[in-house]
């Protein structure tokens, strides 16, 4: 186990810079998720951490060691790849023991280390199989087993669940989190799926276009997004965004004149172009704000209502079973304390 420090790390391919100075510090034993849309540089950053990509400038430290110029094998890390990267010509046991075999560990000792790892992952009965004979979830477990057997300072996961079906993904999510709680090895996990990030991470790093947008615990990011990108990226259904301005009496006026309540206005000035951010579940039926209903999506536990409000398309999530027809109007209320205000031009948060 070790902490990981990423300081002002940049990466360029030729003249194109794709990581513009990344700073992240990961505590010993932490579970950090790098999340962001495709092309944001999260996988590149992970591969730089693993030693598979050169670091253009900046510094990466694992524990107290600067690893910039160390080969992957000298960094004492283990990585789980998106396609699992199991050696097809080796059995499950041989795959898991490969690193030990390379290190010259005796056969008996390898078996001794592979056995408990296989048992943790429920692979004990598959040890003599070849990867081709395994299901996707089993291959995923073998890839993790290979990492566990190494007993590394840091686990790296590169979108490990994206090749699995939705149901298995939920199971494996829990398994990985369980494993982390059991082994307490520092983990860096890359995903583009914000649900995976929210459910697994101690700390989430939201990346976008080669920069870190915000770092925080899942609930910090959810409750207090620093900017419009994080606000829109974290949460499903996504946060509703309505453009408008603040009036003199501390209320928000949407472009079409609809008035909306605001809690803390922070540094927002009246007349400044703003974006009003509202989580779908912080709306309730019955109030004085008119919503034109377009689509109703009952999920059983809750009802999603898609409609138009203040000139924007918004989604409301109601615990109650609302009885409205598409095309009709309904009145909703808003919890002012849950409202976020962002500057429209910079996208930065202005409310407190």
């Amino acid at each position: 186990m070790a902490s990981v420090t990423i300081e002002n790390v940049r990466k360029s391919y030729g003249s194109v810079e794709i990581l513009h100075g990344i700073n992240i510090s990961i505590d010993e034993g932490g579970f950090v998720v790098l999340v962001g849309p495709s092309g944001c540089g999260k996988s590149t950053l992970l591969r730089m951490l693993a030693g598979l990509e050169h670091i253009t400038s900046g510094q990466i430290r694992i524990g107290n060691r600067v690893v910039n110029d160390l080969a992957p094998k000298e960094r004492d890390i283990a990585m789980v790849f998106q396609n699992y990267a199991l050696y097809p010509h080796l059995t499950v046991a041989e795959n898991m023991g490969f690193s030990l075999k390379l290190a010259g560990v005796s056969r008996a000792e390898i078996a001794e280390k592979v056995r408990p790892a296989a048992e943790i992952l429920g692979l004990a009965h598959l040890l003599e199989r070849y990867p081709r004979m395994l299901s996707g979830g089993q291959r995923q477990r073998v890839a993790m087993g290979r990492a566990i057997v190494r007993d590394p300072q840091v686990f790296l996961f590169d979108e490990p669940l994206s090749n699995l079906d939705a149901k298995l993904r939920v199971t494996m999510r829990t398994e990985i989190k369980n494993l982390h709680q059991r082994l307490k090895t520092t983990t860096v996990y890359v995903t583009h799926d914000q649900i995976e990030a929210m459910t697994m991470a101690d700390k989430i790093v939201v990346m976008h276009d080669g920069i870190v947008e915000q770092v925080g615990t899942p609930l910090e990011l959810y409750d207090r997004p620093d900017n419009l990108f994080v606000a829109g990226f974290i949460g499903s259904p996504a946060m509703n965004m309505i453009a408008g301005t603040l009036t003199g009496d501390g209320r928000f006026e949407a472009k079409d004149g609809t008035m909306l309540p605001v809690g803390d206005t922070g540094s927002a000035r009246p007349g400044q172009p703003l974006v009003y951010g509202l989580r779908p579940e912080l709306m309730s039926p019955g109030g004085d704000i008119p919503l034109t209903v377009d689509v109703i999506e009952p999920t059983g536990a809750e009802t999603h209502v898609v409609g138009r409000l203040g000139g924007a398309e918004i989604t409301g999530v109601f615990r109650e079973r609302v009885a409205v027809e598409p095309g009709s109007a309904m009145q909703i209320g808003v919890t002012p304390a849950g409202v976020h205000l962002f500057d429209e031009a910079s996208g930065q948060r202005v409310s407190g």
Partner: protein, 319 residues
């Protein structure tokens, strides 16, 4: 396809189908139609492969000469060949030629494939260049080598003389062992592209992440090659080298243009000797017997690759 069950299909029972002609029945039957579609291929195989092969084998049992049809003489040709030192020399030459050239082609071809599999500038340009020896007609490249190996004007001799390493031209094609190494070199030059490009295709099916995983697992570049790349490449190597051995064993053009089997039969392969005896020598029966004598060697090579190098356990799907 099973016959439609009339009892379960009342519509067909009510309305018995009219008797169809043979053609109509054939064109509606899966097997009949399949047979029909295979006919051209069958005809092709019979006329252009089976007939010449059969004729060749038959000729080997006769004393046919050009311009005179022979009679069946049993194994006489083979008994005669058994006591013929030139025939045994050609067998020896063929073995050396095939063995050395195949090993060299494999080694150099694999090396080239590994280089071309890396991210090089002008990668596609180099891949195209590599194919050139394979694309050029054999006779043309053989003539180029003839000039390169010329006893007086050889560019190799000239270069070595300029460098002061030798004081007179090397007699490449005039000394038995020189000639053997020279034709082997020409064959290797010509055969490398096939091996290199085929192995390159094989290398590209190996995901990059396996190499990365091995690097993280602590493998040195050499270990990554021997423990990951090479085992995953063996199925392709088996196929490519089987073909390469067959091509080399039956080589004719290169030798015939470069040395015609000389000097003193030192480079005669079984294929060239067979032609030499059959056409210029007129002994069709004897030539055919030499050619037939190649078959056991070729079969052995094919069986070796079939049994020795067949699909590995890890390649098979779930059972």
């Amino acid at each position: 396809m099973p016959e439609p069950d009339l009892a379960e299909n009342p519509r067909m029972q009510d309305d018995p189908p009219p008797r169809k002609g043979g053609w109509a029945r054939l064109s509606e039957s899966r097997n009949g139609l399949g047979f029909l579609f295979m006919l051209p291929a069958v005809a092709f195989l019979l006329f252009f492969l089976t007939y010449p092969l059969g004729l060749g084998v038959w000729l080997g049992f006769t004393d046919t000469r050009i311009g005179r049809s022979g009679i069946f003489i049993g194994l006489e040709n083979y008994i005669w060949l058994f006591d013929d030192p030139v025939f045994w020399l050609s067998v020896f030459n063929t073995m050396i030629y095939t063995l050395v050239a195949s090993v060299a082609k494999f080694g150099l071809g694999l090396w080239l494939a590994l280089i071309l599999n890396r991210h090089l500038p002008f990668k596609n340009f180099f891949r195209a260049i590599i194919l050139l020896p394979w694309v050029v007609p054999t006779v043309l490249s053989a003539m180029a080598f003839w000039w390169i190996f010329d006893s007086q004007f050889s560019i190799i001799s000239w270069s070595l003389m300029q460098l002061g390493l030798i004081d007179r031209p090397i007699n490449f094609l005039g000394e038995p062992w020189n000639a053997r190494w020279s034709v082997i070199a020409a064959n290797v030059w010509r055969g490398i592209p096939f091996v290199a490009i085929s192995l390159l295709a094989g290398l590209q099916t190996i995901p990059q992440s396996l190499n990365e995983a091995a690097a993280i697992d602590g493998a040195t570049p050499w270990q990554r090659f021997t423990k990951v790349t090479l085992p995953l490449l063996t199925p392709i190597i088996a196929v490519v080298m089987t073909f390469s051995v067959l091509f080399t064993f039956t080589d004719f053009q290169l030798i015939y243009v470069l040395t015609r089997g000389g000097p003193v039969n030192a480079t005669h392969l079984m294929a060239t000797l067979s032609f030499q005896r059959a056409i210029p020598g007129g002994q069709l029966g004897e030539g055919a017997a030499i050619a037939v004598a190649m078959i056991p060697f070729l079969l052995a090579a094919i069986l070796f690759s079939f049994f020795g190098l067949q699909r590995r356990k890890w390649q098979q799907g779930r059972d």
